[in-house]
Subunit: 497 residues, 2 copies
């Protein structure tokens, strides 16, 4: 017999309404980044801020507090109880923030992000600072509210919004360990690759052909184009809604691997979203577990699978079909291209070995920035010092390829960057588990049989959504909570094996 | 000294919020028609229905009634008083309808419209009927509520939502007059054109070249692409927001004039929206005056200007540049092509002489449909009879090119169709006024000087927005309220002159 759960039911109705309204906010956000002409920017920012206020009011309706308490006493199934836990988390996060602060933060970051789009190519750091200072001030204000509500440090509070359970202390340990072995590993790989002959693909590469190639690969990776799109934006991302996933990439006609691999990356995000449990859609428990788990999917696609020698050999054929054959497209050369390690300026263009250095740098800047130990003006000098220290490159005066390269800070996202490297670590952990369970998986990938990998990800990650805490999800999927040793082992196996 | 107007000010804040939230609804609606993959349809319909409910709740907040009454007593400027009048109209319209009815109607029409997109090409009338019956039932229910609230007939109540002040009695007189002279005029024009030699353009016409041609013409017609876009959808329309106008068209590679002239049509709508008084944006008085006045702009662009022999001569050059020269692109031949009168199935493809027949037919079906004098099942037989009677064409069994051809009824829009012909009449009236004031305007158009026409439209129509009633707007612009004699004179001058 069905139990009577009036408070829980009322909560699910509120979250269903939020889901529907957030649908419009998501699509408008995607449009803003992918299609909107500049004249619409001011009005769009105001519209989205107004909607953010509407959503905030729904999440802070006084009735919710009592419903959350009463629902605790109702007879709930395990799934309902997990959903209630996620509702409580969502409620705590949003009720720590005053409505006008949420609205001001949305407005400031929309303005800053829009201006950043032209300030970045213009290398205009001082112009950027004007819009960025209010974004930072509002992020600190938000962090301070969250910090007081949860009794953790301001940065931990922001981190927790993307990566529940993660802390600066845990990151210090994880990244501290990486700092110990990464420089040596980079040096050994660079030495080993020093005399490798790698042919560069000869362009130009027609954008239309690139688009067709990307769409073909995305389709072969299982993305459902009847429930999503692939378009173009300055900073590639995966947005939209689970029922209509909007991925973006960007094309240059002198280079195609960046957009191809970037598209494969977004496809990992896209498939996670398209495969969240449909029966729970609209409910917090159906959400992707965390930012790092999301990145573990995009990096599983881009790095574990996309740079897998067996996958690369098949990709080489697709590339030759798209642009005509050339020696650079031979499988072995392509694999060398995709695993070439070279310290550089740009995070999104970085190889998987130097990538963690970019993240550690951002973590070491954004944590003190939020804790008000440093100011926005201090970023460039710190950036220059740390890039020199971690990767030996000189970034002085080059803001375009320095602190202006990412959309995150202009958009008011602090605490997100660490999730990329945590995602790389989880991705390595998933593939280590897949190999233990399916010893022939590498041969199957080489044979073009990707279904076993997708089935594993679907059942262990995508369909599990937020039914468990992150640590529990990882344990159920792979037998243990986050263990960065798998990432180190993956790099050593692929680059020094 | 500024007067204290607390109630009026509170109302402007509510309308400002509505404007911002409607921004998201508009962009999502445009996306739905232009870009959305089929898998997103159900979720989008649900999201937009939820948003419609939010907007409805804002418009029916109990405080508004008292604010509207109190604002009447406040010391308001003429513009504020006009704005208050439009707020009252908006309030009356929306407070006549229960929230759940609004939501059910949005959901039903979104579903029906989505299914119609595949049912139309499949000629699937019976499949369409299943989704259309609830749309009609809900439209009648809405009409009944509005009818009771305003003390007018159900159809007049719907008509008034698009065309304030218009009634079926007034339409009966206007369309009754057209019925008297139109068949004779069509016959005389057909006789005169019977032995005219008209060369058909030879295709195919590359869609990319068409797109570039359309964008060039749209730009030359003054549309601001920094605050708008031109994309593709099944049924061309002009949507978006005044700050970011989204026009659509559709391309076929065997024919280009339809999409070119359709795009010119939408540009009229687009410029009206882009030029609404910016200081009032968000307030009801800044809205376009009515559907017929809106259509008077699109038809001023498409018919009065777009088919003007002086404009056509210049357009001919653009066309030859787009597709290469051919005899059919000679100015005189192109003018004959654009003024060729031929009864046909499709309203949007109709010439301006037979077009009113399509409207009269729809008016004569949708009025009794809403008044429950006939049912949805009766449409095809009536359609066949009236098409035979008005235009002498046989539509039996051809639903695709018959009652399934328009998006209006599937989308729940009843009372809109008459506005197209009223718009054609107003457009002729504007150009008659322009010619009286600027006797050399035809020579200036032929010389490519379009600014005088645009300046007239901007100052007399666009910038006047809803500051006056429709009749007063027309009197201030052209010296008289709607006078259909200008339309008849225009047709006689162009087709028999």
């Amino acid at each position: 017999m069905a139990q009577s759960t009036p408070s829980y039911d009322a909560l699910t109705q509120t979250y269903d309404r939020l889901h529907k309204l957030e649908h419009l906010q998501s699509i408008a956000g995607w449009d803003q980044a992918a299609l909107m002409p500049p004249g619409g920017a001011e009005a769009r920012a105001a519209a989205m801020a107004e909607m953010a206020a509407v959503l905030h009011r729904l999440r802070t309706e006084p009735a919710l507090r009592e419903q959350l308490t009463k629902a605790e006493q109702e007879s709930l199934s395990d799934v309902q109880r997990a959903n209630l836990r996620e509702m409580q988390r969502d409620w705590r996060l949003h009720n720590a923030l005053p409505e006008d602060l949420v609205q001001r933060a949305h407005l400031a970051s929309a303005r800053c992000e829009h201006a950043w789009r032209s300030q970045r190519p213009a290398n205009d750091w001082s112009g950027f600072l004007e819009n960025f200072r209010p974004v930072l001030a509002l992020a600190r204000e938000q962090a301070s509210h969250l910090s007081q509500a949860f009794g953790v440090s301001p940065y931990d509070a922001l981190l927790d919004t993307y990566e529940p359970g993660m802390t600066a202390a845990r990151l210090d340990a994880i990244f501290g360990d990486v700092r110990r072995w990464l420089p040596g590993l980079i040096a050994r790989v660079r030495e080993r690759q020093a005399h490798e002959v790698v042919l560069a693909p000869k362009g130009p590469f027609a954008v239309d052909a690139q688009r067709q190639l990307c769409e073909r690969v995305v389709r072969e990776l299982g993305f459902d184009f009847a429930a999503g799109r692939l378009d173009v934006s300055t900073h590639p991302f995966c947005g939209g809604v689970p029922e209509d996933v909007r991925m973006t990439t960007r094309y240059r006609d002198d280079e195609f691997l960046g957009s191809l691999m970037g598209t494969i990356h977004e496809t990992g995000h896209g498939r996670y979203e398209q495969n969240r449990p449909r029966g729970l859609i609209g409910q917090p428990a159906s959400q992707a577990r965390s930012a790092a788990i999301h990145e573990s999917q995009s990096l599983a696609f881009e790095m574990q699978l996309g740079c897998h020698p067996g996958f690369v050999a098949r990709l080489a054929g697709r590339i030759a079909e798209a642009f005509g054959p050339q020696p650079a497209f031979e499988p072995e050369n392509l694999a060398r291209l995709l695993t070439r390690v070279k310290p550089g300026f740009i995070r999104v263009d970085a190889d998987e070995v130097t990538y963690p250095a970019h993240i550690i740098l951002r973590y070491e800047i954004e944590r003190p920035l939020i804790e008000a130990e440093i100011e926005a003006e201090d970023i460039p000098a710190l950036w220059d010092t740390k890039m020199q220290e971690l990767l030996g490159v000189d970034t002085r005066g080059n803001y375009t390829d320095g602190p202006l390269q990412d959309v995150h800070w202009p958009a008011g996202l602090f605490g997100y960057f660490p999730c990329y490297s945590l995602g790389a670590m989880y991705a390595a952990q998933w593939f280590a588990a897949i190999r233990r369970e399916m010893p022939d998986v590498d041969a199957r990938i080489a044979a073009g049989e990707l279904a076993p990998v997708f089935d594993w990800l679907r059942s262990r990650i995508w369909q599990q959504a937020s039914l468990w805490t992150t640590d529990e999800l990882a344990r159920r999927a792979s037998g243990e909570a986050l263990n960065p040793a798998h990432f180190k082992a993956h790099l050593e196996r692929r680059y020094l094996g």
